[in-house]
Point group: C3
Amino acid sequence: MKQGRVTITTRRTMELVDITSSLHHDIAQAGCGPGLCHISSPHTTAGITINEGADPAVARDIIAGLKKIVPLDYPFEHGEGNSAAHIMTSLTGISVQLFYDGGSFQLGTWQRIFFCEFDGPRTRGVRWLMVEERP
Amino acid sequence: MKQGRVTITTRRTMELVDITSSLHHDIAQAGCGPGLCHISSPHTTAGITINEGADPAVARDIIAGLKKIVPLDYPFEHGEGNSAAHIMTSLTGISVQLFYDGGSFQLGTWQRIFFCEFDGPRTRGVRWLMVEERP
Amino acid sequence: MKQGRVTITTRRTMELVDITSSLHHDIAQAGCGPGLCHISSPHTTAGITINEGADPAVARDIIAGLKKIVPLDYPFEHGEGNSAAHIMTSLTGISVQLFYDGGSFQLGTWQRIFFCEFDGPRTRGVRWLMVEERP
């Protein structure tokens, strides 16, 4: 099982960042063969999701929708004021799994992998782990 | 690693379709032994979830609930008018993993695997990938 | 692939229970080497999530947030009165995957694994399955 990590610098409080190319590059550098790739965020106020990447408005609409769905101003207990970001993280989840073969992930036509920043801007990391197919 | 794909024809704008039997059939045809099965949707307006299949009202309530949770008429940017479907896809997620053994998935008593159509009706596909246990 | 199951006794209608230590203990007892661990709930009114465990207020805020997000009193069809719990289960998901090595999961600094009780109190179970790295 090969492993790696890519670094992401987010620029807004909340945004979706397309990390597909960064992951492709890092995994190619590691010389991985075909396999099931597990991609995860080690953070608790940032998730991972797969959604449309063709029109960047979709990523912005997902953020806009989450802001409407999750109560931002609810009198939460946690003192850091970022409970909404923790809730969004549990809604999207922090990991995805994808089949990798021939230098890229097996994604649908419109699918891209997004890092979901819910409490930025920050420098963040994403880990990947490849369970390679045996020869 | 064996792979396959099942086709699903949805009949409504939004509905949960039980795909457990279709997956069992397709995986049995492929002659898979025990292993961890990754099941995923290649779409960006349709997810995969595991929930109760005994009472079909639960699947309808999940759809009814999602329609209450996600703002359908919010002034979204994306021009296709299906941003709510994209958001729902990121809420449920597009994949599940299950242990497969002896011809069926290791599911809880009430659990079934559902394809979540959020922008139908359409002809859709679901992929599966089996990481087989070695002998 | 080694497998196991831990039992959880929940005490409230809705609560997040940190199951990280129970899983570590059970997996160590089974003598697992490094690998990708799949952790799942066989229930349809209880999920699994990874979130902050340092401040227990975060877990309470996640429950408080979900109660605001999901309509509890919506006229649902399902006769058992727990449709909101089924919806929450599809929002958080019922499984997570983590890399395991040297006796513990590869978690971020603040991450812990939580069993999400949405329709308790009950006695519940969580399954784990380890895809071990080959020597």
